[in-house]
Amino acid sequence: MKWTGMYRRIAALMTMVLTAVLLAGCSDVVVLNPKGSIGQQQMDLILISTVLCLVVVVPVLVLTFWIAWRYRKREKDQAAYQPNWDHSTKLETIWWGIPIIIIAILAVITVQYTYKLEPSKPIESEAKPITIQVTSLDWKWLFFYPEQGIATVNYLKFPSNVPVQFELTSDAPMNSFWIPQLGGQIYTMSGMAMKLHLIADEPGEYKGAGANFSGKDFGQMNFVATATSQADFDQWVREVKQSYPSLTKEGYTELAKPGTSLVRSFSSFPQGLFNEIVTKYQVDGQSGHHHGGAEASSGDAKAKDGAAGSDADGHDMSGHDMSGMTDHDMSAMTDQDMTSHNHNG
């Protein structure tokens, strides 16, 4: 803890220096302008490792130019010339030593942070986390809110200061779910449910992207993640439940077809659909996808999703099935809609 505190102070100092000097006034540099604790720690780590590297790199750069200048061939005043001097145990020990020390320090920090920032590790918080299930499709994002029983396409909303537990999968070539200001990305892969925990420290609109190339229109897989107050979030959920159609199985099949999509909302979605998407490629339950890591295994997801599914079912009592693919505008999203249209043609 003591160490962490020190990193933090160094990092804070460097943040000030770097943001001030290098990137003056550039709030667009999203990775260095985090709005959540995960992103914050990742930025700290970036700055610490940068400083550690610069400790060697700057002197090396200076040395390079100095040596090249000092020992250039000259008509007169030639600097000392020792053509056969090719070994010095002392010097070589020094420059095996320097990188070893720097790398050793960096290694310790990296390992600490690797465990601390393991994406499947829940965030410690007073607030009860909210779960959002993410599916990357060809070429759109589908988000299920199992606890609220609603679903959205290409936009996200969640309360700030509440940890968000993302469960991620794909029903298309793999993609990567990335909201830079909240924290780093994770792949979405079919046949398994990955986990990513993020939190927003303040309300705001954060850009999200599908970071991994997944075919023709993957560049259209941008979305906005909005963090609001808990009250606004609850209000929004009520609104979605009242005003929008539900997502049916057929509706999902339609949605999953290759193509871009507008921003959409659904008042409900079929129970356990996320789990079905995760397991649909696992014909006999042991398809060799052992890679997901213990915390992110699909068995785990199955249990979670089962519970979530019944939860969703509870909310879905109204059950009016409007075979729901009606497009819907959010005024804030008009621009995005326009581009989607353009690229749909």
Binding site: D28, V29, V30, V31, G39, Q42, M43, T50, C53, V56, V57, L61, T64, A68, Y71, K73, A79, Y81, P83, N84, W85, D86, H87, S88, L91, E92, W95, W96, P99, A107, T110, V111, Y113, T114, P119, P173, M174, S176, W178, P180, G183, G184, Q185, Y187, M189, S190, G191, M192, A209, G210, F213, K216, G219, V283, S287, H289, H291, E295, A296, D335
Partner: protein, 652 residues
């Protein structure tokens, strides 16, 4: 079967491609016309296409790779043009996707690799005092396999359609389900055919270096470039079989409907990603290690000083090639492998920074207390050191696993690997080309034009890629074909595009430099740079047999030591008398066999067995024809050696 009409067969619908079609057609007609008019077909066949001489094979590698540099560079400039402004509609997304795919494949596999093999061929036998490589026939076959593979890959540009699933072609995107066209099959067979050639080159040069060094040249007296070739080739033979298998499995998936990497049937796409990086990461070390060797030679020569820390350098080379096999998973820290796996691969990756850093210090201290001049080769080396140091540093940043979650797939990553690949590999190979050019051709390249080329490249590089680090931190992801005004990215992108074109101008200067230097040819002696190693002890260009008598090596920089002894008036040891030199005969089989491979590959791409099967039979037939041929060598008689040496102004 996959092709229903002619318009499926030929790529249509894009004015850029029609333009390229016309240009390619005209160039081919021109080449054929010139060869016919000047009655050069026979000459071309006898002296070049069938040659087994490592020096000529090397030249062909270099020419082919410069052509590929042009193609890959055009791809790059097209992409930069598309990204110069927001909402550009210069390239549609699918066109953009195929361009970044071919750019990556061509630059790594059909530009960097052959340029590297070209330098191996041009230099290694001369540097270790050998008359040729261990297997000259195989060497020719390697070249032609590379060439035919590259041609097959490039054919996709005009026939059938280019691959568009990224340079490593991750499944399931690259599976038939999501990429039904033939582009992906061109990718597989183009790389596969040339990959077999790379593997054989690896074997060839390991045996050459281990078994054919001049007497007295113990391994620890071997020039550093040859050491770097050895370490690179050891990495090749361990890594390339993995690529061969991986691509074969992808092909089996696509062709026979197997389920190695498919979504359904129990396939495991992540296995491909693991396998391809088990080759892919060592691959980048395969191309950078020889560049390290080049810098070591150049720094010593132009500082007029022994290479500092020879043993450290050897140790560093070997440990880098070993570690390169234990870092592959750092290409997918974000795959949810868990903290244990990520921590392990983060550490192994950082470990590589140590020997690499040591090499930089050793180069600096080779220059320290030297007498440095800055001719072209040294200039590129000086461009390399700061560039590579910074690129290496961002590499270390990327290796910090949790930080990589924010860098991964962003332009930060793009900037990093271009910095090490351009600043390291390209600058390195250019340095090597300028350095050994006089040895190969007997004349120097014009220094003045070369300086323009260097500065355009060097400045262009920073203008192009430094903004991309910022773009990465601004959240711009790789491979997006366009972006909006609201993203705030366009200024940086615009600057980056300018940098790209500056490098393009640098390339044009190099072309001009070569043409100019051919026109105003300045002949040079065998040793124009006051070199240190054996290749400078013989005439430029080297005679077919390289060394009239095999040198007896005493020192590490043997030629330098010989010159010093001479200056001190130490009497030279009497040379052994000339003897007839045993040489391999030229052979047409390599080019014919490779053409059959091309045929087989083409047939398999289009699922036309009537082409593929005769092609494979042709391959087998060529192999047997070679096996049954016992008349493969000849002798150069003593009087011919004497007259050749005399013509080069040498007393034997």
């Amino acid at each position: 079967m996959k092709i229903n009409s002619l318009s499926d067969f030929f790529v249509t619908g894009d004015p850029l491609i029609y333009g390229a079609d016309v240009a390619i057609g005209l160039t081919m007609v021109a080449v054929v016309l010139v060869l016919t008019l000047f009655k050069r077909w026979g000459w071309l066949w006898r002296e070049w296409l069938t040659t087994v001489d490592h020096k000529r094979i090397g030249i062909m590698y270099v020419i082919a790779s410069l052509l590929m540099l042009f193609r890959g560079g055009m791809d790059a400039l097209l992409m930069r043009t598309q990204l110069a402004m927001p909402d550009m509609e210069f390239l549609k997304p699918d066109h953009y996707n195929s361009i970044f795919t071919t750019h990556g494949v061509i630059m790594i596999l059909f530009m960097a690799m052959p340029l590297m093999f070209g330098l191996f061929n041009l230099v290694v036998p001369l540097q270790i005092g050998a008359r040729d490589v261990a297997f000259p026939f195989l060497n020719s076959l390697s070249f032609w396999l590379f060439f035919m593979g590259a041609m097959l890959f490039n054919l996709s540009f005009v026939i059938g359609g280019s691959p568009d699933a990224g340079w490593l072609s991750y499944p399931p995107l690259s599976e038939r389900m999501f990429s039904p066209g033939v582009g992906q099959d061109f990718y597989i067979w183009g790389i596969q055919i040339s990959g077999i050639g790379s593997l054989m080159t690896g074997i060839n040069f390991i045996v050459t270096i281990l078994k054919m060094r001049a007497p007295g040249m113990k391994l620890m007296k071997m020039p550093m470039f040859s050491w770097s070739v050895l370490s690179s080739c050891l990495t090749i033979i361990l890594a390339f079989p993995i690529l061969t298998v991986t691509l074969a499995l992808l092909f089996i998936d696509r062709y026979f409907g197997a389920h190695f990497f498919t979504l359904d049937g129990g396939g495991n796409p992540m296995m491909y990603i693991n396998l391809i990086w088990m080759w892919g990461h060592p691959e980048v070390y395969i191309v950078i290690l020889p560049a390290f060797g080049i810098f070591s030679e150049v720094v010593a020569t132009f500082s007029r000083k022994k290479l500092f820390g020879y043993k450290s350098m050897v140790f560093a080379l070997m440990s880098i090639s070993l570690f390169s096999f234990f870092t592959w998973a750092h290409h997918f820290f974000t795959m949810g492998s868990g903290a244990d796996v990520n921590a392990f691969f983060a550490l192994t990756t950082m470990l590589i920074a140590i020997p690499t850093g040591v090499k930089v210090f050793n180069w600096l201290f080779t220059m320290f207390r030297g007498k440095i001049t800055f001719e072209s080769p040294m200039l590129w080396t000086m461009g390399f050191i700061p560039c590579f140091v910074v690129g290496g540093m961002t590499g270390v940043l990327l290796s910090v696993a949790p930080a990589d979650f924010q860098f991964h797939n962003s332009y930060f990553l793009i900037a990093h690997f271009h910095q090490v690949l351009i600043g390291g590999v390209a600058f390195g190979y250019f340095s090597g080309l300028y350095y050994w050019w006089p040895k190969v051709f007997g004349f120097k390249l014009n220094e003045k034009i070369g300086k323009y080329a260097f500065w355009f490249w060097n400045i262009g590089f920073y203008v192009c890629f430094m903004p991309q680090y910022v773009l990465g931190l601004m959240g711009m992801t790789r491979r997006v074909s366009t972006y909006g005004w609201d993203s705030g990215w366009w200024e940086w992108n615009f600057v980056s595009t300018i940098g790209g074109f500056l490098m393009g101008i640098g390339f044009l200067f190099q072309v001009w430099q070569i043409l100019h230097s051919i026109k105003f040819m300045e002949r040079v002696s065998g040793d124009p740079w006051n070199g240190r190693t054996l290749e400078w002890s013989i005439p430029s260009p080297a005679p077919a047999y390289n060394f009239a008598t095999i040198p007896q090596v005493q020192e590490r920089d043997d030629w330098w030591a010989t010159k010093e002894r001479k200056a001190q008036g130490v009497p030279e040891q009497p040379r052994a008398p000339l003897e007839p030199i045993h040489m391999p005969k030229n052979s047409g089989i390599p080019i014919i066999m490779s053409a059959f491979w091309f045929m087989a590959g083409f047939g398999l791409v289009f699922d036309w067995l009537w082409i593929a099967i005769p092609g494979l039979i042709g391959v087998a037939g060529s192999m047997l024809a070679h096996s049954f041929n016992y008349n493969t060598d000849y002798y150069i008689p003593v009087d011919e050696i004497e007259s050749t040496e005399a013509a080069a102004g040498r007393v034997v």
